[in-house]
C-alpha cells in the first residue's frame, strides 16, 4: 500500500515547516505556494528536502527533476513522488 498524494503532501509540508519555516503559520503554506521560485527554498534547503524525500520514500530524483519545473510546490512534489512510487 503506497502513500496517497495527500499523505505525501502532508509529510513534505511537515518537513518544510519544521526545517525551513519554524514559527510560521501552517495555513500560509498551501499546496500551490511556489517554493523555489518564491524564495522559500534555496539551494541547500532544496538539496536537504530531496534527501528527506529520497530517504523516506526510497525513490531517486533525476538531476533535471530538481528544478522549478518539477518541484516548485507541495502538489507538484507529491505528484512526482507518487509517480515514482507507482512506477517502482
Amino acid at each position: 500500500m503506497t502513500d496517497t498524494i495527500e499523505e505525501i503532501q502532508a509529510a513534505t509540508k511537515g518537513y518544510i515547516m519544521k526545517e525551513f519555516l519554524p514559527g510560521e503559520d501552517a495555513d500560509e503554506l498551501s499546496a500551490a505556494t511556489p517554493l523555489l521560485s518564491g524564495g522559500i527554498l534555496d539551494s541547500i534547503s532544496t538539496v536537504k528536502l530531496i534527501g528527506f524525500l529520497e530517504d523516506k520514500y526510497k525513490v531517486e530524483f533525476a538531476a533535471h527533476e530538481v528544478s522549478e519545473d518539477h518541484i516548485d510546490s507541495l502538489e507538484a512534489i507529491a505528484a512526482l513522488v507518487q509517480e515514482k512510487l507507482s512506477a517502482g
Binding site: 519555516l21 521560485s37 518564491g38 524564495g39 534555496d42 539551494s43 533535471h64
Partner: protein
C-alpha cells in the same frame, strides 16, 4: 593595448581559427550538446553581424540576459569582436533589476530568452526599435539610444551589489581582463587537452577565467547551467563523465559537493587543478575534499571584481587534522602590485593589520557613471591607479597575506558580494516597513546567514512566506534573507545609529 581588436579578442582569435574541428563547448541539457571552435566562430560571427545590422558601434554596450548556453557564449564573443562591451545579468534575476542595469549603462542591444522578453521590456525605460530572432529561444532587442557615450577598449561591465540600494557597474577593459588571463597561463600549465568547468554565471567574475583561459588554451569548456550548478548530485557525475581537468568555483559549491554529492561514487581522477575563490574555504570541508580528490593541485585565489584575482596560494598536500584557521590568500600575482595600508595612508608595519590596496594591469578604471564612488575606491600614487579593496589583511612570516575581515558592511554569500545596505534599501521599499536592518552571521553549513530585522507601521507583520516572495521580486536569490525577525523599533547606539552589534546578539 591597441585598438578594440586586441585584449580578449586576441586571446581567442587563434584557437577559433586553428582548432576549427575541435570541440570548444559542451553542455548537458535534455541531451548532451557540443560545438566545435569552427561552429562557435560562425555563431559568434552571426551575432556580430546582427549587432552591426542593428547599428551597434565600437564602444557601445550589449546586454546579455540569456541562461548559460552555447548561444550566450557566441553572443559574448560576437559582442567583443564588434568592439562593444558585454553586460551580463542573471537570467533568473528580477526583470526590474536587469532592466535597471541595462538602462544604467545604456545598452544599445540586449539578447534575452524569447519567453522573458516581455517582462524585461515592460521594465525598461526605453522603447524597443526592433527584434531579431537568433534561434535557440534567443531574441536580440534593438533599443532606443540610452545613457552614456561610447567607451574605448571596454570589454565588459559586471554589476555588483551596491550599498546604497542600486547595483553598481564595475567597468573592465580588454587590457584589465587579458592581463589576468595571461597570468593564469603563466601560473598553470594549460593546453588544448584541458577540459574546463564553467560553473560561475557570466555576471560573476569567476567566469572570466573559465571562458578565456579555456578558449586561449584551445581546450574544451563544460557549460554548467544555474540549476545544474546548484545540484551536487547532478554536478558530481558531470565532472566524471566529462573527464574535467580544471575545476574553478566558489568554496560553497565544493562544500555542497563534498557533503551531498556522493563524491566517493565518481571517478574524478582526470582533475589536475582545483581552483577556488570568492570566499573563505573552511579547512574542515577542504580537508574532506582533498581526501576524496587527492591528486589535483589546489589553489586559493583572491581578488575583488574591480581587479579580478590578485593573490594566489597553493594549498599544501596535507591539511592537518587540527587546522581550523583558513589558509592564507597568498602572494601577489605577477600582473599587479599590492600594499597594505594602515590608517588608509601609510604602509603597515610587518605583521600589522591594514587594508589591501592594488595597482597594475587588471585594476578597473572605475564604476559606470558613478564618479563619487570611483573617487572613493581609487586613488593615485606614484603615477599609478590604486584600488582600495576594503579587505583587511596581515602578512605572515612567509610573506603570504592572511584575510582578516571587511572594513564595511559587505559580506560574501555563496561567493557573491552582498551589500547589507542593498537588502535594507529593498526592504524599505515595502510600503508597510518603518525600519529595516540586515545583519550577517556565521553559519556552519552555508558560511553566512542573513537575518533581517523589520519594524512595521501597524505592528502587524506579513508571514515569512509572503516576505520571501516579496524579496524574490526585488532581489537576486543570493541576497534574500534566511530569516526575518520583527521588532517594535530597532536598537540604536548613543549616536542614534542602528546598533548592528546588538542586533547580531539578538539574531
Amino acid at each position: 593595448m591597441t585598438g578594440t581588436s586586441g585584449g580578449l579578442v586576441e586571446l581567442f582569435a587563434r584557437p577559433l581559427r586553428e582548432r576549427a574541428t575541435e570541440v570548444a563547448l559542451v553542455q548537458h541539457g535534455a541531451e548532451r550538446e557540443s560545438v566545435t571552435y569552427g561552429e562557435l566562430d560562425s555563431r559568434a560571427q552571426a551575432f556580430e553581424d546582427a549587432l552591426r545590422a542593428n547599428g551597434v558601434k565600437p564602444g557601445d554596450r550589449v546586454g546579455i540576459a540569456l541562461p548559460k548556453s552555447i548561444q550566450s557564449v557566441a553572443s559574448i564573443l560576437g559582442t567583443l569582436r564588434a568592439g562593444a562591451a558585454y553586460v551580463p545579468v542573471g537570467s533568473g534575476a528580477p526583470p526590474r533589476r536587469n532592466a535597471f542595469i541595462f538602462d544604467d549603462c545604456g545598452v544599445a542591444s540586449a539578447v534575452v530568452p524569447t519567453g522573458a522578453a516581455e517582462g524585461l521590456i515592460a521594465e525598461l525605460g526605453r522603447e524597443v526599435r526592433g527584434t531579431h530572432e537568433l534561434g535557440d529561444d534567443a531574441l536580440l532587442l534593438h533599443l532606443e539610444p540610452g545613457a552614456g557615450e561610447p567607451v574605448k577598449d571596454l570589454a565588459y561591465i559586471l554589476y555588483t551589489s551596491g550599498s546604497t540600494g542600486a547595483p553598481k557597474g564595475v567597468t573592465i577593459t580588454h587590457e584589465n581582463a587579458a592581463s589576468f588571463v595571461r597570468w593564469t597561463h603563466e601560473l598553470l600549465d594549460l593546453g588544448p587537452d584541458d577540459r574546463f568547468s564553467s560553473h560561475a554565471p557570466f555576471h560573476f567574475d569567476l567566469s572570466i577565467f573559465d571562458l578565456y583561459a579555456s578558449l586561449h588554451a584551445g581546450g574544451t569548456l563544460l557549460l554548467i547551467g544555474e540549476e545544474q550548478g546548484r545540484q551536487p548530485r547532478a554536478l558530481a557525475p558531470l565532472i566524471a563523465e566529462e573527464r574535467l581537468t580544471v575545476w574553478y568555483s566558489t568554496p560553497s559549491i565544493l562544500t555542497l559537493l563534498v557533503n551531498h554529492g556522493h563524491l566517493d561514487r565518481i571517478d574524478a581522477s582526470a582533475l589536475r587543478y582545483v581552483l577556488f575563490a570568492g570566499e573563505v574555504f573552511p579547512p574542515k570541508h577542504l580537508r574532506a575534499l582533498k581526501a576524496l580528490w587527492p591528486s589535483p593541485r589546489y589553489f586559493n585565489w583572491y581578488g575583488p571584481t574591480e581587479t579580478n584575482v590578485i593573490t594566489s596560494y597553493e594549498v599544501p598536500e596535507t591539511v592537518p587534522e587540527d587546522r581550523t584557521d583558513p589558509y592564507p590568500i597568498g602572494k601577489t600575482c605577477s600582473h599587479v602590485r599590492t600594499r597594505v595600508l594602515a590608517d588608509g595612508t601609510k604602509d603597515a608595519a610587518p605583521g600589522e593589520e591594514g587594508e589591501l590596496v592594488c595597482a597594475g594591469a587588471s585594476v578597473t578604471e572605475g564604476y559606470w557613471n558613478l564618479p563619487d564612488r570611483t573617487a572613493d575606491a581609487l586613488f593615485e600614487h606614484a603615477g599609478e591607479r590604486w584600488y582600495r579593496t576594503g579587505d583587511v589583511v596581515t602578512e605572515d612570516a612567509g610573506g603570504d597575506y592572511i584575510f582578516v575581515g571587511r572594513r564595511d558592511r559587505m559580506v560574501k554569500r555563496r561567493g557573491f558580494r552582498v551589500e547589507l545596505g542593498e537588502i535594507e534599501a529593498s526592504l524599505y521599499r515595502h510600503p508597510d516597513v518603518v525600519e529595516a536592518a540586515a545583519v550577517a552571521l556565521p553559519d556552519e553549513e552555508s558560511g553566512v546567514a542573513i537575518v533581517a530585522f523589520l519594524c512595521w507601521t501597524d505592528g502587524q507583520h506579513p508571514s515569512t512566506i509572503k516576505l520571501k516572495r516579496y524579496c524574490t521580486e526585488n532581489l537576486p536569490g543570493y541576497m534574500i534573507p534566511d530569516r526575518f525577525s520583527h521588532l517594535d523599533s530597532l536598537p540604536k547606539t548613543s549616536t542614534d545609529k542602528v546598533d548592528y552589534e546588538r542586533l547580531k546578539g539578538m539574531a
